[in-house]
Subunit: 684 residues, 2 copies
């Protein structure tokens, strides 16, 4: 007796899930049985093209599988029809058509392309595993029958049960007046958007939109509402691809530059809340129109949206008066994640679309911080990870998979170039890099829009083209860091006036001194740019606030050291980690473990958009994050005062000291030598 032949073994990549399937099993069915996510809109009819796979060729010794394209059944007529009309790259098969005929290693590509459209390049290219809440499902509905007088909507729901396996789907009441026309327009073939929240308490699958016939486009919106800038991404729910991105200034700026002035505006003006809610919603509406046009779709194709923002942006967007957030106890109206229909807030996307808002962590630590946490995953890490979203209000999360703490620090707008004499936003012409010669105290600079240092050939052209217009956040960090390293300022931030004798860059300015960073140049249409003593003070206040917040969280966890630092936000991405550490903005850490992570809030929003399990993940994480209200902590003041010094009055920076040559201790007006261990230091 010969051993009975085993069924073919199929392994899916990149998930690595494997199983044996009878010959003749469609690859799509095999994937579903293993829980491998492959998109399909048409329900296995070979028309949507979403379920593409590729059979790998060769012997995979590790898996014991000899895979070949001809271990799949031959190309079907449906596939030929599809590839005539659309893109079906060499080697690709539709998994609903291709049947298992032998052992296979199946690659599930992440970049299924079905239209020959151009997709805009984006900086953020992270591939997010998909399991969106909204799914497009093509169904063929039974025609009405007098013998079985079920309603049209009821027969549609039956088809969703029969063809797609939904359990007790429901239909939004809003769709009922349209359903008969839609079914007849599609000749009893329609594509439904089915929303399944995933939490039992939110109910089962709900039909939120119906398109007559076969409809192969479904998108989602991921929006980060910053107090300064609103950034929005339009992403295909079917492929995960970002189809368009756009940004716009937050028009609420006209009611107040910073968050607290906007809260004040609401408190002082009876219509203030309404005006600000309208302003931000209108601006988002304009962005949506732009995105939709850019992607060549309609607003009806936008079936979901995820929003993040700090608590005040979050509340104003929802139409909630933020007054309570303006003073202790900083009570949020709602902290948990929210799901609701887009039309509740008049969002100009599909009427049935659902909005998801990530949870807020605390009164000053918002859904944006939750999104950053989701994207950077300190809760998934072994390393003690510090995640900082630097803004006018820095949001800080610290911890690892065992424990997480969070706080915010009121850093103010200094890092964005405000409150700095020569400061400006990051834009062409802004000084972003600075080096100061330790001997001559002469600076060299780089500006945004040019690659050359100011002492290199070619800078003159850059200076003429874009000008030297001011200094942006990352430039400020560097110039202050360099001034400290070059001995121009002492550890308390005082500009050493005695150096005026050595360099004409050091100049008396009123009762203090300043450092002339840029002389000005008529040809370059630029005026002189000085770093004043008040500028140094502004940076000290800002960085001390941030550091003190971080230090409180470290205290909470009993840490003397963090193991990794992630700097989120545009500012965080551009600053040089070394200088951030030199000025004592962040605690000491191995330099190669400090990373700018870009628009992590936007990434977190996209993750929540494309995969429901990320929503559950961040909701669970936020519930267990321990929140520290810095204003309540008695040691905040002490940490703040120590952090006013460069890099810090009491903390040690061994990793930093191994990277750069820190200047000998110098406190103008008489100081000690040697770096005291923390808590051993002097109080001011």
């Amino acid at each position: 007796m010969t051993e009975p032949q085993k069924d073919p073994l199929v392994l899916f990549m990149p998930s690595g899930r494997r199983g044996r399937f009878a010959k003749g099993t469609p690859v799509l069915d095999a994937a579903r049985q293993l829980g491998v996510y492959i998109e399909s809109v048409c329900g296995g009819r070979g028309i949507c093209g979403r379920c593409q796979i590729e059979a790998q060729e060769g012997h995979f010794a590790k898996h014991g599988i000899s895979s070949a394209a001809d271990h799949l059944s031959g190309v079907t007529e449906a596939e030929n029809r599809y590839s005539e009309k659309r893109v079906l790259a060499e080697g690709r098969r539709l998994s609903c058509q291709a049947l298992v005929e032998g052992d296979l290693v199946v690659d599930v590509p992440q970049d299924v392309q079905i239209n020959r459209q151009i997709v805009r390049k984006r900086a953020e290219t992270r591939v997010i595993e998909r399991d969106p809440a909204t799914q497009l499902c093509y169904v063929e509905v039974e025609e009405p029958d007098m013998e079985k007088p079920l309603g049209d909507a009821d027969r549609l729901l039956h088809a969703l049960v029969k063809e797609w396996g939904f359990e007790k789907p429901r239909i939004a009441a809003r769709l009922l007046p349209q359903i008969q026309k839609l079914l007849r327009a599609g000749e009893w073939k329609v594509t439904c958007a089915v929303y399944t929240d995933g939490r039992a308490e939110a109910g089962g699958p709900l039909v939120t939109a119906i398109f007559p016939g076969f409809h192969n486009v479904g998108c989602g919106l991921a929006v980060d509402i910053g107090s300064t800038t609103i950034a929005a991404h339009l992403t295909s729910l079917l492929s995960g691809r970002t189809m368009a991105s756009a940004g716009a200034p937050n028009p609420q700026i006209r009611f107040g530059e910073d968050l607290m002035s906007r809260v004040s505006y609401v408190m002082m003006n009876p219509e203030g809340r309404v005006q600000m809610t309208k302003a931000v919603r209108d601006a988002i509406g304009v962005l949506i129109a732009e995105l939709v046009q850019g992607a060549g779709i309609t607003t009806d194709d936008v079936l979901e949206a995820v929003f993040v923002g700090n608590p005040i942006m979050h509340h104003l967007f929802l139409g909630i008066d933020p007054t309570e957030l303006g003073g202790a106890p900083f009570a949020l109206a709602v902290s948990d994640a929210l799901s609701f229909e887009a039309r509740e807030i008049g969002l100009p996307i599909n009427d049935g679309a659902h909005v998801y808002m990530l949870p807020c962590i605390a009164g000053h630590v918002g859904a944006d911080a939750a999104a950053v946490t989701l994207a950077e995953g300190p809760h998934r890490a072994d390393e003690m990870t510090l995640v900082v979203d630097v803004g006018t209000n820095a949001e800080i999360v610290l911890g690892n998979k065992d424990r997480l703490v969070a706080a915010s620090s009121p850093t103010g707008p200094a890092f964005e170039g405000a409150e700095i004499s020569g400061g400006q936003r990051a834009a062409p012409g802004a000084i972003e890099r600075v080096r100061i010669d330790r001997e001559t105290l002469e600076p060299k600079i780089k500006v945004i829009g040019g690659d050359e240092w100011s002492n290199e050939e070619g800078f003159e052209k850059v200076a003429q083209d874009v000008g030297v217009t001011g200094i942006c956040g990352s430039g400020i960090i560097e110039v202050v860091g360099e001034m400290y390293l070059a001995g121009i300022i002492d550890e308390d931030g005082v500009i050493d006036g005695s150096l005026a004798a050595k360099s004409e860059r050091i100049q008396p300015t009123g009762r203090t001194f300043s450092y002339l960073l840029w002389r000005g140049d008529e040809a370059a249409k630029s005026q002189e740019i000085k770093i004043l003593q008040t500028d140094i003070r502004a940076i000290q206040l800002a960085k001390a606030a941030l550091y003190a917040g971080v230090r409180l969280l470290m205290d909470k966890l009993g840490l003397e050291q963090v193991e990794a630092i992630k700097l989120a936000g545009a500012f965080g991405s551009y600053i040089d980690p070394t200088y951030a550490m030199v000025i004592g903005l962040i605690p000491d850490c191995p330099i190669d473990k400090v990373k700018g992570v870009g628009n992590a809030a936007g990434t977190g929003a996209r993750m929540a958009l494309l995969n429901r399990s990320y929503r559950r993940e961040i909701e669970e994480v936020v519930r267990r994050i321990e929140k520290i209200e810095t204003a309540m902590e008695p040691r905040f003041q002490e940490h703040f005062v120590a952090a006013m010094a460069f890099p810090n009055k009491v903390e040690v920076f061994p990793n930093l000291a191994g990277t750069v040559t820190l200047p000998p201790r110098k406190v103008l007006g008489g100081g000690e030598d040697g770096r005291p261990r923390r808590r051993g230091g002097r109080r001011r």
Copy 2:
């Protein structure tokens, strides 16, 4: 050693549930543990007064319990405070305050009264066991705490979990902008309306409204949208009491008297559907205002609504174009029950209120028939029960707990007095009762508004006061029945002109004869009222249509006889069952088993309003009702033709024959004698 003493035994009436409870257990807790429904809004604080019970006195041998009021703990301070302000009748206790101290038989009264308000009398006094979808829950919410920065909404939900045991409650997004003001206005004490659909697929408990402080009023609306009349009842969700009832003509009448003319109006007028939807919603809005004022509450106190109506009324109310219902295959847009927020259709009640629409049975058998079925419960009966809602379109359900069938028959408006020469709606002055002397053929009548027969003393005054203005539906049934019993018409409905010789009441009218029912009387401001041959024909057509529908359903179930008949609707309540049978409107049945059941559709709506399990019951029943489309059935025509005769050409009426003296068979123009058995009869 003595036997350990057992815990006290507590028996609740009328449910009969019993259990042992430790001394000191609040009676309310004992009830909940046994699943006995006792209302409570305040959560056991002794302030809402909804949880009243009464301890029975005496020895209940059947249960082996000696119960006494002093087996409850003494009256508490909270109860004294309550009874000072509100009604707490002699012997009543608040079950949240009274503790079990010994064996008890506890009566849970159905008429808990908490205000000294006058409740209007209603005809329908059925007590409906309550388990409403919306519950009022008073909670005391923790104040905000910087250390645990949960949002106000989140703390509210925690309180609902902690104090009321809800699982994962959610809050309507719409309430978020108000929640902080409401909590502060109530000083952290609020009463929530919590809606729990009860079906897993609809999700968990949802806070739909919040009232600051303690709020002890919560009502629901039960509305029957008839094509002629809209009837609405305002019912307390807390006591089950109907607080106010009101009715109004359906203003859609101006677009078309009957259903099909309204469908035609929609088909002919582009704005027709919108106009009719607006008309009915506006009329309901006016009724709501009237009810709310009558009950002394506000629209915000109306937290739920249930609507029933025939399919066309159902669709127009929902804003659905009824055109598909105007022709085969009579496709409903939706047949299953619906739940949605009232604001979807702009209903002027609480913004968070939920609407429930009972399911439609078929394209011509609507949610009103479902409500009648729920109220009359053929599906709960052993007897083969026929339920007929007589209207311009009669809706018929037949069966028992094992099997149910349903159909509709286009009876037309004859039974409402339309299409009859002297016909009118049931109103003062309309003839509603008729008797004809078998010998003299002289009639006597009664009119609505008077108790005397026309040959009795006092009638003259009635006739002068209200007039004799026409003949209403029940009067028409009686006069035709009496004309048949008196031999004035033959079994085919032909008026016997030869009788003109015997009585001057029989008069030639054109080529046929008529019967003079009322001579007219100048003093009584009345004209003469005749029954024309065409009137008899109109009644024959109407009753034949109804009977043929019934007969088809009997065929379907293989029945020769039904065991009980319930006649719903105003008409059904006023007609005399004997005459309905004499004219062959309904099949033969023991006369005492034929009952008018009043506004059963309204009762069914109230049942669905007050108890979620009735919603599940009728949804399940409607799914298994077998639907018959009369127009599709080949035997309809045959049954219809046989049913044109009085009482029927082929059917036997043994029960009827035992009740009244049926005339000898007489077919003018040559007939047979003796009643043929069914299917043995002649065809016309």
